[in-house]
Amino acid sequence: MTITRRIRAETMAAFRAFVRRRTAVFFTFFFPVIIILIFGALVQTQPTGGGLFAQPPAYYVPGYLAVVVLFTPLSRVGSSVARHREGNRFEKLATTPLSRTEWLLAHTLVNVGIIGVASLIILGLVVTITGATITFSWLLIPFIVLGVALFCGFGALLGATADSQDGVIAASNTIALPLLFLSETFITPSLLPAWFRPAVSLSPLSYFARGVRAATMGPVADAYGNLLVLAVLTLLFVAVGAHALPRTD
């Protein structure tokens, strides 16, 4: 019971701290909307033609979801860690019963809640604006939860490594942008040079994209293997991220 009390306290504080930053809240939801409007409404997909967006609209659903699953936790948790360091908050927390894993779990829960809402909006917009035909599989839930948790762990690692909030934001953008486009989200492997294609499997986001695509477009059976790989990678990233969180100066 005491663990739940601690995690609830940290989660509530992190949630309040986030929702009271109106600019951050606005752009968390506005950023994926812009991407959908640009790619889905302006550029549009051309299933029968060539070019960058030659797949059916549903193909790009994992990409639109990845915008929030990848960017938001990476930059938010990274910035939170940097802010905690600058305000000596970890020094304080080190003398409380809250563990590093509990801290990361609490911040992951906040991100799961925010990104869960954002994902619903994205799915609604994608279907409405691009006319994508998708299956609303229950498997989307574990994929989004695990994807968010994975990048929360990655964000914690970034925040613990970078020397400032600015550094975290610069690093997260530098890491997230290539990952977003090279993980079978918006760019199909066939558009990449043959020698580079094996590298796509090194991105954790690839398993998210493949799994979400299988869950929404089929065959659903293909989703389970990707879910398993994503779960293992999530455990790894969360463990490393939690361990990296500072306990001392």
Partner: protein, 315 residues
């Protein structure tokens, strides 16, 4: 013994931040650490609370810091900044929620004098109010050992005294307090034991009065001379009284003057025809000890001198 440290040493690269510090603190007492900026106070606090790596031995409530029951420790780190868009009450509730057992937020807010500002965001509070919230956060788990790194920095004089009274009440109830401060009157008022840290070493430890008697030097009478006066003449007239005379910036300082001898000084100045505008008599205090010991160790930094001058000149 609530806290015991033996030969604590901490190095950052080639810099020795702590050089074999040993100290002990009894239950229900206040230990105040004073010393110039960069003397190692915060590093020592971090070593004592296990929030930095160190060499040597530290025991809090009978166990090393990393094994101490965190329910029993309340820490206010230096430059601590909690989430700024939570209200004072929410912050107390938040940190209280991290412990198995915590005090009522209302009672904590009352203790630190923030009942009226309870529902104000931290970022909208004044600097002094923010520091009070931070002290409240350190108190929320009703700790046996309270460790406060510059708790009253930024708090106005009245608020500072309110906090002193709060700490007195806590120690009366058995709480042990370790604090750092740049306010000598705070250390003198609150502390049962003062430790003066300079260049990573504890150069003096003891009750404030003992340190003052040992290192504070003599009483002194300061006479502000009239502009027309020759300082040499004033020095010659008062030389037979006291233990030493010097003049700087038209202020004649006569050391070792007892209250009864003040009249003798004034008579001597009148006899010599020396005019003066003002005079003040001072007993040695902890600040005298601080200046004597830090100047002798060559560690009084510019900031500390500037702070002192500001405190002296502020009415």
């Amino acid at each position: 013994m609530v806290l015991n440290a033996e030969n604590v040493r901490r190095e950052y690269g080639d810099t020795v931040a702590l050089d074999g510090v040993s100290l002990s603190v009894d239950r229900g007492t206040v230990f105040a650490l004073i010393g110039p900026n960069g003397a190692g106070k915060t590093t020592l606090i971090r070593s004592l609370t296990g929030t930095t790596e160190y060499e040597g031995t530290v025991e809090l409530l009978g166990a090393p810091p990393e094994q101490t029951d965190t329910q029993q420790i309340g820490l206010l780190p230096q430059s601590f900044a909690p989430p700024e868009r939570l209200t004072a009450r929410e912050l107390i509730e938040y940190y209280g929620g991290l412990y198995d057992d915590a005090r009522s937020p209302t009672a904590v807010l009352d203790d630190v004098g923030l009942t009226d500002a309870a529902d104000t965001w931290y970022e909208s509070l004044s600097g002094g109010q923010q520091r009070r919230v931070c002290v409240g956060i350190a108190l929320v788990n009703d700790p046996e050992l309270l460790v406060l790194d510059e708790p009253t920095t930024g708090i106005d004089p009245a608020g500072r005294r309110d906090l002193w009274r709060l700490l007195e009440r806590l120690t009366d109830d058995g709480t042990t307090v370790v604090l750092t401060t740049h306010y000598m009157e705070e250390a003198e008022y609150l502390a049962d034991t003062v430790g003066l840290l300079a260049d990573g070493s504890l150069v003096a430890t003891g009750p404030p009065q003992t340190l003052i008697e040992e290192y504070g030097g003599a009483n002194r009478l300061e006479v502000e001379l009239a502009k027309s006066v020759d300082p040499g003449e004033a020095e010659r007239a008062t030389e037979p009284i006291g233990t030493g005379v010097e003049t700087a910036d038209r202020t004649l300082t006569i050391r070792g003057v007892t209250p009864r001898a003040i009249g003798d000084v004034l008579d001597a100045l009148d006899d010599a025809g020396v005019d003066y505008d003002a005079l003040s008599w001072q007993q040695p205090d902890l600040e005298s000890v601080y200046l004597t010991l830090t100047e002798s160790s060559g560690s009084t930094d510019t900031a500390t001198r500037a702070n002192r001058m500001e405190e002296i000149t502020t009415p």
